[in-house]
Amino acid sequence: MINVLLFEDNKNDVAQLKASLPKNEFEIVGISSNLKDGNQQIKQLDFDIAIIDIFMGDKPEGIEFANEINNSTKPKPFIFLTSSIEQHIFKNAKNTQPFNYLIKPFNKFELLFSIELAIEKYAEQQGAFAEKKTVFCNDCFFVKKNNSLIKITFDQIFYVTVDSQYCKMITESGNFILQISLTQILKDLPPEKFIKTHRNYVVNLNMVDSIYPNDNLLILKNKDKVLLSRRLQSDFFTKYRIFK
């Protein structure tokens, strides 16, 4: 689930946002309509993206709210929502380096597209979703499957294996084909949690259920069997021990 933080005072817009975001992909973790509440939510809530209306009434509080996000310990992507298309409105908004603007009224597609763009931009991987690439963002990655955006935290991954020229990621949420090499994905994953056990496998150490060194085999928590090559065994055990 992708956690969304809303900064919006217009009930109609809130309703439309709620209606537009697919229930199985997005979860609105917090809605605020003033800076005080908003700042608190930034600190307390865990969110992946914020949708910010620039104007609270007549005041451009959205810009301050965006600055608050930028200045927090964990910066997050955010989208500005506005009904205006005039430049001067964005003069101040621009300084916050927003990841995208969404012009009201918007349809479901536009909203989702904006979110995608914002995530791509945040990860500096523009166009990644269109190319069916995975976008890594903080401690998770996003991937588009069947026109829906799926967020996968690293903890959800069992292992990654090679599938022809791409990678296949086996997670709790399902399997995903990634159009990148295994070596590439290893670089994006945190090295203390993931280890290469075989030429074709990268394994989440947390997901290891049992080890059969003699058989050169690992049994993971989803009962999948993963090869543990002899060449990489020593490396695996050092990390695994430390991990343990």
Binding site: S83, E86, Q87, I103, P105, E110, F113, A130
Partner: protein, 612 residues
């Protein structure tokens, strides 16, 4: 009137005989000129005969009369030479037969000669005159005797003089005139020279008496002195001395210095002869003194004359220089005037130019001010207009958008459509479409206005065309479904363009909206793309009614272009115009190809995204 001065006796030795000789030798006639040459008598005679003088105004007189007049006129003006020439000419030509005129001419000629001291010639002429005068019994003839007498005295032909004067004396009738006094005196002097002392005494005494009678001091002095000389020659010294002293006393009263001088000299000689040297010396001194004073007077006169001449010359010169300088000044004045005129005309010219330029400048400035004011007003008006538009469209956009969304949700909620709700669903669908179209119109207007204000939010980025087409398509799902139009998006999902998201959406939305409007139900719509190295072109192909290419080209430049859609609704051309503007702004192009009855293809060319 000529005067006769008197014999001066210079006694250079003590001998009376010698004295007499000296009288003869030194007796001198000098004819002093009286300013008035013409006596009243002579004037009367002239007026009698001169026609010009009688009628001075008539100018019809013949030449000879004019010349006659000139002759006597010149004479009276003392221009005796001219007078003589005229008189001689007239006499020689025998111009006049009248004796009285000829008489006058002879008189004039004679008198002129007398004045010139040409006594021999004068005598002849005057005698001729006397003959004529006697003949015509002219009164003036007697005067001629006197003149002739004086001439004879002058010529020392005392016998002739006595003869003439005695002849005159017969006719003078004891009239006591200056003329007669002089004539009597001259007669006396002539007798004295002829040593006829008795007759001399009688005549001189007569002259003395006349003079006494007429209280003529000068005449008395002369008479006394001549009487004294008479007595002195006769050795009647006592009487002579008395007369000498008497003459001196008279002479001292007159201003005639030579006379006084003679008186002194005579007395000095007489007293010297009387051995009375003291008195003689005193008289001598008197004589010398007068001599000096006469000389001084002459000198002074000469000097004065010279001075006069000099001053006259100086004055002349001054006048000439003054005239010259005045002429010069005149010229200078003229040139100055000319210069002034030129300068002033130049000044006026410049002044006019300045005034004109100031005036035109003022006018231009006034115009400029008006123009700038009007411009400001216009700008303000346009701004107000734009602001009003943007406010209205902004304010309209949100509620219409909301209405549209609500209607859409209502349609979603009504699905699947049951038969009893079909009509209501259709109504809602129509309302939705209406709101959607209105919304697009408002959005277009808003973009148009803000685009004109150069304030449109615009930032180019990497965009996946396929996704954007899907986004736009999503809004039109219901319309497409309603018309049962098949929509195919065949754009390669992996290609990106560099463009502004918002403007690209507007372009696609307008194209799609337009395409649906002009498409026949159950037709197909295809979106495809082809790319070269630097650009990508997106083709929107429909199977609509199409239109005539020519009219499109013309009408695309008109904002108020109208086209009827398949259901007869009229659309504005604003959408298409906006598309062109926005495509250009994205550094792309916008083209329409249409065949009437077959369909339209809209092509949007954009820059391909370049990997930095």
């Amino acid at each position: 009137m000529p005067l006769i001065t008197y014999n001066n006796f210079f006694f250079l030795s003590g001998l009376r005989f010698v004295l007499i000789l000296s009288i003869l030798v030194n007796t001198r006639f000098s004819i002093a000129q009286n300013q008035d040459l013409v006596s009243d008598l002579f004037k009367n005679e002239l007026e009698k005969v001169c026609l010009v003088c009688k009628n001075p105004n008539k100018e019809i007189h013949s030449n000879i009369f004019m010349e006659f007049h000139k002759a006597h006129d010149f004479f009276s003006k003392s221009e005796i030479d001219s007078s003589y020439i005229y008189a001689t000419k007239l006499l020689e030509n025998k111009s006049f037969k009248k004796k009285d005129i000829n008489f006058i001419l002879y008189v004039l000629k004679g008198r002129v000669l007398t004045e010139k001291a040409l006594y021999n010639a004068a005598e002849g002429i005057l005698q001729e005159a006397i003959i004529i005068g006697e003949d015509i019994n002219n009164v003036y003839t007697t005067n001629l005797y006197a003149i002739l007498g004086r001439i004879h005295v002058e010529q020392k032909e005392f016998n002739k003089a006595v003869k003439i004067l005695e002849n005159w004396k017969k006719s003078y009738n004891n009239e006591n005139t200056e003329n007669s006094r002089i004539n009597v005196h001259n007669l006396g002097v002539s007798y004295l020279h002829l040593q006829n002392f008795n007759k001399a005494e009688i005549n001189l005494k007569e002259s003395f008496n006349f003079n006494e009678e007429a209280k003529d001091t000068l005449g008395l002095a002369r008479s006394c002195l001549d009487l004294a000389n008479l007595y002195y020659v006769q050795y009647k010294d006592a009487i002579a001395l008395r007369y000498f002293e008497k003459g001196l006393a008279f002479a001292e009263k007159t201003t005639n210095l030579p006379l006084l001088q003679n008186a002194y000299l005579n007395l000095a000689i007489v007293e010297e002869n009387n051995k009375n040297y003291g008195k003689s010396l005193n008289y001598r001194k008197g004589f010398e003194k007068i001599k000096d004073s006469i000389w001084n007077k002459d000198q002074v006169w000469k000097l004065a004359e010279k001075d006069k001449e000099i001053t006259l010359a100086v004055k002349d010169k001054e006048i000439k220089t003054l005239e010259l300088s005045s002429e010069l000044q005149k010229e200078r004045l003229q040139t100055a005037q000319l210069r002034n005129i030129i300068y002033s005309s130049i000044a006026i010219f410049f002044l006019i130019i300045i005034i004109l330029s100031v005036f035109t400048n003022f006018k231009i400035r006034k115009k400029n001010r008006i123009i700038s004011i009007q411009k400001d007003e216009l700008v303000e008006l346009v701004e107000t207009n734009d602001r009003l538009f943007s406010i209205i469209t902004h304010d309209l956009k949100s509620p219409i958008g909301l209405l549209k969304n609500k209607l859409m949700r209502a349609i979603e909620m009504l699905k699947p459509v049951s038969i009893d709700k079909e009509e209501a669903t259709q109504l809602i669908l129509d309302s939705f479409q209406l709101s959607k179209r209105t919304h697009l119109l408002i959005d277009n207007t808003l973009h148009w206005v803000i685009g004109n204000k150069q304030e449109l939010l615009f930032s180019k980025e990497k965009l996946p065309v396929e996704s954007i087409i899907n986004m736009v398509h999503f809004d039109y799902i219901f319309q497409l479904e309603e018309k049962e139009i098949k929509f195919k998006n065949e754009v390669d999902s992996s290609f990106f363009v560099e463009a502004d998201l918002n403007s690209l959406k507007i372009i696609f939305r307008n194209i799609l909206d337009n395409a649906i409007k002009f498409s026949h139900p159950k037709s197909e719509m295809l979106v495809s793309s082809n790319c070269d190295e630097s650009t990508c072109t997106i083709h929107w192909k429909d199977q609509g009614i199409g239109f005539d290419q020519n009219t499109e080209n013309e009408d695309s430049h008109k904002v108020n272009q109208t086209n009827k859609d398949v259901s007869g609704n009229i659309g504005t051309g604003l959408g298409l115009r906006l598309c062109k503007v926005l495509a250009k702004k994205n550094e792309g192009s916008f083209e329409i190809k249409s065949i009437k009855g077959k369909g339209t293809t809209v092509s949007v060319t954009l820059n391909k995204y370049k990997i930095a």
